[in-house]
């Protein structure tokens, strides 16, 4: 037996081996059902990092400035690396990456309530007939196929408030495609440092022998119970424990540990939560995680919009530009799509509290990196910023564009919880062809 086990031996290996010794027949339940899952479409060409601006960022103060109009506010535009394209003066670093970015200034959506707009932008659909629409990350995770290494397909960093309680994570695709959440949800200080996967390490004082014995006892106990109660719940239980064990391997745990990064790199991203979250996102896509989202909250600026947006832009500019630089230097920019978006924009008209309110009618998103023809602006709002003048883009159009950029056919269908096939993006969606490097199939 493994009495002199090398403590660095990946956990997955010894878990598999000991389980095989103890319960030859039960080995199956701990090992991935690879054969069944690999069939079907090829893996997406690219990973995706979604920078989610929770609360709805002001387009007028970031990527669609109106310096000559009363709605414009105090921020001045600055030139970017691309002639003719201007960003806000508070985004000077990201302006240097404009050649790799496509700004869509003509988003026009229908929902002005945070929760419903968030679900709409993140799933691509409006609620209908009790369908549990999965979010973008889950859809991409599914297209990525069976998780290949120890890391999950979908990691959500600081996702507090991103998932409605009534909406099961993973939607109708099921908990296998739910995100692994990094960054604790609670304010509970005992839950560990803020940017970590909770409970990833075996509890202190528990020896490898004990872990081994525990897992074997569990396997023996649950086997007859689950066998007599086949179904989604049993599968979900087995799969969650299998994936959790793989995640506990030293290699996987290392991916989540920013201590392995040099101090100057960590500084470059900004030491705040969002900056470090972006650094983690880079570490994860380096390890082929297909979808990572990092959220930055605080954009709901009904009051005192300008100082708050300026401060948020500082955080954003530092982290995002460091991310672009790292991706570029490591040769990952071609294989990583970076998306910047929130649930809606904000009113061009400045309210009496020097704030801007919810505005879904005309707002901006930015796509960059892999699959995107950068150095472009798509669409236009009028002089006041109130209406889209040219090239209106809807939520389904945006999601379809993201899928195509990742190398995924947006017309693919999944079976939903109401036994009706649902396309990845709404059938009416038209990808924004002019910003894509590859034309939609």
């Amino acid at each position: 037996m493994f009495t002199q086990r090398d403590s660095m031996l990946p956990r997955r290996l010894w878990l598999g081996s000991t389980a095989a010794l103890a319960f030859g027949a039960s080995l199956r339940c701990w090992m991935p059902a690879v054969a069944a899952a690999v069939e079907g479409s090829p893996r997406p060409k690219r990973s995706c990092i979604l920078l989610w601006m929770n609360g709805g960022p002001s387009q007028t103060d970031t990527f669609d400035l109106k310096p000559d109009h009363a709605n414009g506010g105090p921020f001045r535009p600055i030139e970017t690396r691309t002639p003719g394209i201007q960003f806000s003066e508070h985004l000077p670093e990201i302006a240097k990456w404009s050649e790799h970015l496509a700004v869509v200034r003509s988003m026009s959506t229908k929902e002005g309530d945070h929760g419903r707009a968030r679900d709409n932008l993140r799933t691509g659909y409006f609620p209908q007939a009790s369908i549990q629409f999965p979010v973008l990350g889950s859809l991409v995770a599914k297209e990525a196929g069976e998780q290949t290494g120890d890391l999950p397909n979908y990691v959500s960093v600081f996702s507090r408030g991103l998932f409605s309680p009534g909406m099961p994570p993973g939607g109708f695709l099921g908990p296998s495609y739910a995100p692994l959440v990094v960054g604790r949800e609670s304010d509970d200080q005992m839950a560990g440092p803020p940017l970590s996967v909770e409970n990833l390490a075996v509890a202190r004082g528990i020896s490898p022998e004990q872990v081994d014995e525990r897992l074997r006892l569990l396997s023996a106990l649950e086997q007859p119970f689950l066998a007599a109660r086949p179904g989604a719940a049993a599968e979900s239980h087995r799969e969650a424990y299998r994936k959790a064990n793989r995640l506990m391997s030293p290699a996987a745990a290392k991916a989540f540990s920013l201590d392995h990064e040099p101090a100057d790199v960590r500084d470059r991203y900004g030491r705040g939560q969002f900056g470090q979250g972006c650094l983690l996102a880079r570490r994860l896509v380096e390890r082929n995680v297909p979808f990572v989202e990092v959220s930055l909250g605080g954009w709901d600026t009904h009051e005192a919009n300008f100082p708050r947006v300026q401060s948020l832009c500082g955080t954003l500019d530092t982290a995002w530009s460091a991310l672009m630089r790292d991706l570029s230097e490591r040769g990952l920019l071609e294989t990583t799509l970076v998306v910047w978006m929130g649930e809606f924009g904000r009113t061009p008209v400045i309210n009496p509290r020097q704030g801007r309110d919810h505005y879904p009618k005309a707002w901006s998103v930015v796509l960059g990196g892999g699959g995107i023809r950068g150095g472009q602006v798509v669409g236009r709002t009028d002089a006041s910023g109130l209406v889209v003048d040219d090239r209106q883009v809807s939520t389904p159009d945006l999601l379809a564009t993201i899928f195509v950029a990742l190398g995924i056919d947006p017309r693919k269908q999944n079976m939903s919880n109401v036994a009706r096939p649902i396309r990845l993006a709404d059938p009416d969606a038209k990808p924004i062809a002019e910003i894509l490097t590859e034309s939609p199939a």
Partner: protein, 519 residues
Amino acid sequence: MIPWILLGLIGVPPAYSGDQDALARAIDTRIAEHLSIESVEPAPPADDAEFLRRASLDLIGCIPTADEVRAFLADSDLDKRSKLVDRLIADVRHARHFARTWRALLLPEIETEPQLRYLQPGFEKFLEQRRLENAGFDVIVRDLLTVPIASPDQTPEFVLRDLNQPNPIAFIASKNADPAKIASSSIRTFLGLRLECAECHNHPFDPWTREQFWSQAAFFAGIERRGKGPFAPLVEVADRKEISLMNTERMVPVQFLDEAKPRPAGTQSPRVEFAAWMTSPSNPYFAKAIVNRVWSQLLGTGLTEPVDDYSAANPPSHPELLDEIAAAFRASRYDVSFLLRAICRSEAYRRTSRLTHDNQSQPELFARMAIRPMSPDQFADSLVLAVQVQPADERVAGDDVEELDRRRILNLLQAEGSATDPATSVTQALAFMNGRIVDRATKLATGARLQRILDEFPDELDRQIDELFLATLSRLPTDAERDSIATTLKTEHANQERGDRLGNLLWALLNSPEFRWNH
């Protein structure tokens, strides 16, 4: 608009005169008819331990103690299951469980807006008290909808009162006192109808129009907040009986969904008439909606599924049965105890969750008991009871450790959506494998359950194993399980402390789906 008559009142059955056994047999008959049409052999009855665990979780929100399991197994009374159900319903914990269950349905906003948690104790207290009085469900609904609100010339109604006093106004306050939200939420929960899709536009497949949606909201149009935020005090302009259709110029008057017009009620709030109409015995949806909720809570799947989506396009699995139970519930004056007793006496509720024949897995046939996730509260209370977390010496300044643990478990499980299918996430698996609560329970120094078992039965390994099974899985191990575990614990890793080894078993039991699920 589809009139009531087409959607609901097809073949009204005779009312039951309060006889729960008669209703249970009617349930058996209807379920058996469908099983027979589908040629599905139902699973046999659950054994005593399985039934005790399930009924305890469903009725008092917690697993039984080891002593309770032993006593129930030893009881030779042939009618012990029905008597158990009666006993559990009479238990004070039943009212608390009822309050928590319905709080989660009525104030779901608490999960997303943490500050609303201040409303939780008073609201649960209100539900608990009403349940202890065995108030009819119609009474509870009228209480929630007609809660007194001061007129504009009086002192505004405070929303956040003494935290632990019964506080029914929390329902309206949690909807931000928004007429549209109050209307759509109460109609969804108490009538099983989804109107909110008609808030913004007429839906091609739904019978409800936008005007109808706003006519419902109009009943609450007089409510205003004095100030900002969810705790702002409320006033009501009681004679305001119309509302602007989604911020347009158009005003929509109060009108019931069956197109009846409310009687002009002078200065009385239109909410009173709305509540009376909603809970009237002639409203065909009310009894059905409540019955269907309670049925799905006990059997894992509603007779209509989703439970709050009753429409012509989504018929019930057993339409006659839903009518019959609803009629009996109405006849009982919406007596929740009666409804629970009747369903818990049915064969469908008493079946094992084991698959014994093919085709038993279609949930809407009720051929075997569904496996259900525990609610966060059920799980937290069961875990605390099973392991007896008890580290008096670990008290964090001013905090009750047990309550702190409960909160942590609640947070963990609340983050994970679905109430119907038990689905385990990686996050949960990590928490149960490595988290602090299970860790402390499974170490001898901090695990009260382990300490007690080792003190009481120091040299009896078989007995130690039995006690751990009883405390966690609410059953004795099978002989094969006991032998195999005893062999493992005796022979493997002899260098481990015996407390550690017993802790390993407790760890495995707590991580097993048999512990985590209501089955």
